[in-house]
Symmetry: C2
Subunit: 129 residues, 2 copies
Amino acid sequence: MNWLDAVKWDRDGFVPAIAQEVGSNDVLMFAFMNREALAKTAELGRAVYWSRSRHRLWFKGEESGFVQQVHEIRLDCDKDVVLLKVTQLGHEPSIGCHTGRHSCFYRKLIGAEWKSVEPVLTNPDSIYK
Amino acid sequence: MNWLDAVKWDRDGFVPAIAQEVGSNDVLMFAFMNREALAKTAELGRAVYWSRSRHRLWFKGEESGFVQQVHEIRLDCDKDVVLLKVTQLGHEPSIGCHTGRHSCFYRKLIGAEWKSVEPVLTNPDSIYK
């Protein structure tokens, strides 16, 4: 059995994927993969997602240079979620979010408000030209 | 604006939620929430998900006793994924997975095979009676 067939793809052919940074263990981002994206990720050792807004494969870092080197690919108990253990390349400290922040999860619920609690490390205008 | 209205719920009214353990920073599990589940999570300070198989609110730990105490609720850049920072209660070392393992992400891609690389800490038959 092909390892890709073990994955339970959703009705649209996607699987959710979480990118976690090796070392810090921080959760950097979340995206979706289709079968081709997961196959490419394993083949290349770099994170490849499916861009649902652009309807095409998204080689993470293709524009920003912020490539995610993939050390491990994990699958959960229900076989319908993928976890990548990555090194986030291209900037020190690492930038995983298109807003120029370390992690996409920079909004924290404080009282009844979402507050941004992580700094912008690089102006996103300088990342995407 | 109600903080729950800021969340971009999917077409079925759900948002993906990642549970990450405070301290280890390990990703324990992934599930979905509807609006009521997220509201209850914030209100009670414990993880409440939507069970898509049972079509009802799932108070994590309601059967197993393995409650997730919630310290922080985070929202990502696109406002469509939630990250919980939790303490996984009920067992030492902590069990976040219904298989009796620490994390649901216990399958690792090695070569072209998914291999279980995390031990079962407690027989699930003794968790769910």
